[in-house]
Subunit: 226 residues, 2 copies
Amino acid sequence: METTSRAAAPRRLPPEERERSIVDGAVSLAAESGLEALTVRAVAARVGVTPALVAHYRPVMESFVAEVFTAIVAAEREEVIGSYDPAVDLRTNLLRLIETLLDDSRDDVAMVWVQSWALGTRNEALGARVRAEMDLWHSALEDLIARAIAEDPALRVDPGSSAWMLLAMVDGMSAHSLVHWAPRDRAALARRTLTAVLDVPATEASTTEAPAPGASQLAQPAENLR
Amino acid sequence: METTSRAAAPRRLPPEERERSIVDGAVSLAAESGLEALTVRAVAARVGVTPALVAHYRPVMESFVAEVFTAIVAAEREEVIGSYDPAVDLRTNLLRLIETLLDDSRDDVAMVWVQSWALGTRNEALGARVRAEMDLWHSALEDLIARAIAEDPALRVDPGSSAWMLLAMVDGMSAHSLVHWAPRDRAALARRTLTAVLDVPATEASTTEAPAPGASQLAQPAENLR
DNA sequence: GTCGCTATTGAACACGCGATCAACGAGTGA
DNA sequence: TCACTCGTTGATCGCGTGTTCAATAGCGAC
């Protein structure tokens, strides 16, 4: 008589607890199946409640998607950036970071990112969050590189544009991997990529534009979130 | 009495002609609004016929999307690759190519690509087309670089991995631009990017893996299309 | 001028979507 | 033990999706 089947969830929860369970369910659902899978009904089924209850806690799905996006990518960013080891040199650290981000097991987050670029053009709340998260990624990488330069002035690299190239390269590769289009030896190409970004002769790089140190290189920094 | 309003299209067309008009309409629609906008009804409205007629000529929407994708990106590839000028040196050519691909006016094609990476994971027909088109892009760039090396042996670049990095970088940047996250001076960073890819010291690049010349660097080349 | 072929239509089916709202009922304080 | 609060439900609306099919009507051939 199936006593323990189904999750024996208490029928009535304190609002904050229910809200947490709904958000958690949505986050895990989006991480598994992408942002497009975030429908009121799918989240409700995952959490084990009625669609109406999901709609009650998050009345507008568009902004809920934006919220879930931020939760997923912010967690990953903090994890990846947090595993930077100050005791090791920049190149080794960045190599680890690239390999981590390109690992197949991260395809779920890659899917979230790729969908966010497409959805972010029509969902303005999401678009703003996407820009904000990319700003955070960029400045985090910029800081790491700048810090490494401070300790080893022999490094002739522009932190801002290097961070920008790294992001573009990693994001492009991640997108490609979604359809399983990837070079044979990822480790070798990650090294090659890093070399390309870090070992550029200073000839042209530092002469053309001379970006003011610390100045944002973004055309339009993300607006504040509401 | 609005004699010329509406497209005065003949009611009944020869099948091939009608088919062409439907495909053309779908292509222009997807180019304007992305692959997600490709619904039976939207295409029908654009062409000026009934949804049932669209479904008659393209009974399965999933494969129609794949077909439209190929039409759009193949046309762009041929246009961009075709504008390569053999009389000019590699760097200048590639710089032009990058600037062309990153131009804001090409955001429509960028949207198609980004959506194709996401949709290609669940729409297998589309996924195969995506891999095929990326293969064509990769080998086209590889050929251009290899040809340049043949004329100027002073170039110490690995065509395969350079092409791969260029694609990743450009695709990443294009994706970013969809949500209007872009560096201030694109031209400067395009130059910087190109320098990164072309001027890598040969120390590590050529020692680690020594890829067989002409051998595909892809883990799994795209299967044949049906 | 009529016939027959077939391109084209209209209608319908079975879904899935976000959103809304009156009504229910579990838990709590009196 | 009663009554009230409010978390939760079920039902419904309006819309959009792909797909199917009998019925219509335009056009060329005879």
